[in-house]
């Protein structure tokens, strides 16, 4: 480990300031709705007593095949043993940004140098859409946290660490880890020195991932092939992208270990095919490393000719850039019908001003949870017109819902809302129902109301019940495996 210097101080300062500001804005966490899906999976695993291969908490009573890799849910499940589910969700949503800052800081610092690592941290902190996506797309965010660590282990020739980290990545998300693999394979093609290690790493990791991979492949017909958004929908943060492209070309010219971030970035382009909008957020990881490399080299080139005050001048440039990049973030936004250049607030500025949507955990959603819990038994099913709020209710009450999230996987048969014991309609839906099909409301008993929702109980007997499937991997074994992995990492690091 290199000794700390003033560039480390700047990088740590940025991480500390953004983390403290996030803590100050804790009411925004968990950001948006994705975490509710993960919270409901965690709750489902907890009720079942381990990992199951069938969602019984969504699309009840029939459920659907469970294809989401379970690593994040195992971590959340362990936390849930000691903390309330809302706190678990808040922590997971909050922690991913500082973690990716730290992991990229470590990788670049150890493989390149401390100046490059400072510029990388600076650039990754600029785009607020990356901050938001880290807090929002929790499983992908965890993959992005693990990716620089996989790269670091590969560069340091630590086979055990690279296998453990790569396996963790594979068990976290269904598609993102394969982008990491693609980057590593391209790197192995170009860098003969690391070829053997990379092939060993990927070979063993995919072997360890084989059980889940087979499960996904067997049920691959359940996965929807839909593309989300259009390629013309973009949000380009011009500063990181400009320096990133310079870094991309520079890495190709420098070769050796410089190839890896370039190959990783090129592999990321495939996200454009499926999730165009997400590409412009997730790309920040790759583009920041490349941008960090180019900015650091530009600074070196400036101080090279300044014999007397070189180091002071270089550091001053770094400080000035740090201030400027945290004030100005020119962004080019496009949609299929137009485009615009705008100056957006960078992450630190946005958090400082507090222009962020508050969390969806509100007194209203808590009241809905109370209504569901009081009016249903644990095996009874509820229906709500907004399935994302449904996931939140499931994660806090344990009751299964008729609809669900993560629409990439659809159930074979959808159950009509009439199978639910409790029905929660948003007011607009209820008005429509009253006007168009009032007979559907005839057998319903009003049980509660919030600002936007009204809840009814079925008067007639309802037979549909959620059924818990057989556990394929007990909770306790999952925790043992998790801690064995962490122990393996510690052992491998200490060995050197």
């Amino acid at each position: 480990m290199k000794r700390l210097n003033r560039y480390d101080g700047l990088a740590m300062g940025i991480i500390l300031v953004s983390t403290l500001l996030s803590l100050w804005r804790l009411n925004i966490f968990p950001v948006f709705v994705d975490i509710f899906y993960h919270m409901s999976v965690t709750k489902g695993f907890s009720i079942a007593g381990g990992i199951v291969l069938h969602d019984f908490w969504e699309f009840a009573p029939l459920g659907r095949v469970h294809l989401y890799p379970p690593f994040l849910h195992v971590i959340m499940g362990f936390m849930y043993r000691f903390l309330p589910m809302i706190t678990v969700g808040k922590i997971i949503s909050f922690i991913m940004f500082p973690l990716v800052q730290l992991s990229v800081f470590l990788y670049v610092r150890e493989v390149f140098d401390r100046k490059t690592s400072f510029y990388t941290v600076l650039l990754i902190t600029v785009p607020f859409n990356f901050y938001r996506s880290q807090a929002l797309t929790n499983a992908t965010s965890l993959v992005l946290v693990l990716t620089p660590l996989v790269f670091l282990a590969v560069e340091k020739r630590k086979l055990l660490s690279s296998v453990i980290l790569m396996s963790m990545t594979l068990y976290t998300h269904i598609s993102m880890p394969h982008i990491v693999s693609a980057g590593l394979i391209l790197y192995a093609v170009l860098n003969r020195e690391k070829r053997k290690l990379i092939l060993k790493t990927l070979g063993i990791s995919y072997l360890l991932f084989l059980p889940w991979l087979i499960h996904v492949l067997v049920n691959s017909k359940e996965i929807s092939a839909a593309t989300f958004g259009t390629i013309l929908q973009s949000e380009m943060h011009l500063i990181p992208i400009f320096f990133g492209f310079i870094g991309l070309v520079y890495c190709f010219l420098k070769k050796k270990h410089y190839y890896l971030p370039a190959m990783y970035f090129l592999s990321m382009i495939i996200i454009l095919y499926k999730y165009p909008m997400r590409f412009w957020a997730h790309m920040a990881l790759g583009i920041s490393i490349l941008g960090g490399i180019s900015l650091s080299e530009i600074e070196n080139a400036i101080i090279r000719n300044q014999k007397r005050y070189g180091m002071t001048l270089g550091f001053s440039v770094a400080v000035i850039l740090m201030i400027c990049f945290n004030i100005f973030d020119p962004v080019f936004t496009t949609t299929p019908i137009g485009n615009e250049f705008d100056n957006k607030d960078p992450t630190i500025m946005t958090l400082l001003k507090g222009n962020v949507q508050p969390s969806l955990i509100t007194p209203e959603t808590m009241e809905l949870c109370r209504i569901v819990e009081e009016n249903t038994n644990p095996d009874q099913i509820f229906f709500i017109t907004n399935p994302t709020i449904g996931c939140l209710i499931t994660s806090l009450t344990g009751r299964s819902q008729i609809l669900g999230m993560w629409h990439e996987v659809q159930p074979e048969i959808k159950t009509p809302p009439a199978a639910a014991k409790l029905l929660i309609f948003d007011n607009k839906f209820l008005d429509n129902l009253r006007n168009k099909k009032p007979e559907l409301l005839r057998n319903l008993k009003y049980v509660g109301k919030t600002e936007r929702y009204t809840a009814f109980l079925q008067n007639r007997p309802v037979k549909a019940k959620s059924r818990i499937p057989k556990v394929v991997f007990p909770e306790i074994l999952a925790y043992i495996l998790l801690f064995s992995g962490i122990a393996g990492l510690i052992f491998d690091i200490r060995r050197s």
Partner: protein, 129 residues
């Protein structure tokens, strides 16, 4: 700045190799540690190449997403501003208003190209007044 210059600046005479590495690392000169030097040629090439890719990306997206509809709305903004100025100067703008009405009808009929042509013509007329 070369290693020798830095060492001279730091007032150190003829240090050993290990000492040099240690001093350079301490003094934030990671890029010189292990003989890693900046290649000006490579950096210049990267700067040119990177800038070209950047311009290519932005311009591609700009042209793919520029629409006559948006351009029309931008032109209407200019038109309104100019019209206000000319009215203030007491100029007769009735024939120009006629053109802008035709443009608005074309816009409502989703004939954005025609609308754009007409509004541009109206702006030209206003400028001539």
């Amino acid at each position: 700045m070369e290693r020798e210059d830095i060492l001279k600046e730091l007032g150190i005479k003829e240090p050993g190799k290990e000492e040099i590495e240690s001093i350079l690392e301490k003094e934030d000169m990671d890029h010189l540690v292990g003989g890693k030097k900046i290649s000006k040629k490579k950096l210049s090439l990267a700067f040119i190449g990177g800038t070209l890719i950047f311009i290519l990306l932005i311009s591609t997206f700009y042209f793919l997403t520029s629409s006559s509809e948006k351009e029309y709305r931008d032109q209407v903004r200019i038109f309104k501003k100019l019209l206000k100025e000319k009215r203030y100067e007491g100029k007769d703008v009735s024939h120009v208003i006629d053109l802008s009405r035709k443009a608005e009808i074309a816009y409502r009929n989703r004939d954005y190209k025609q609308a754009l042509e007409l509004i541009k013509k109206a702006i030209e007329e206003l400028r001539r007044l």
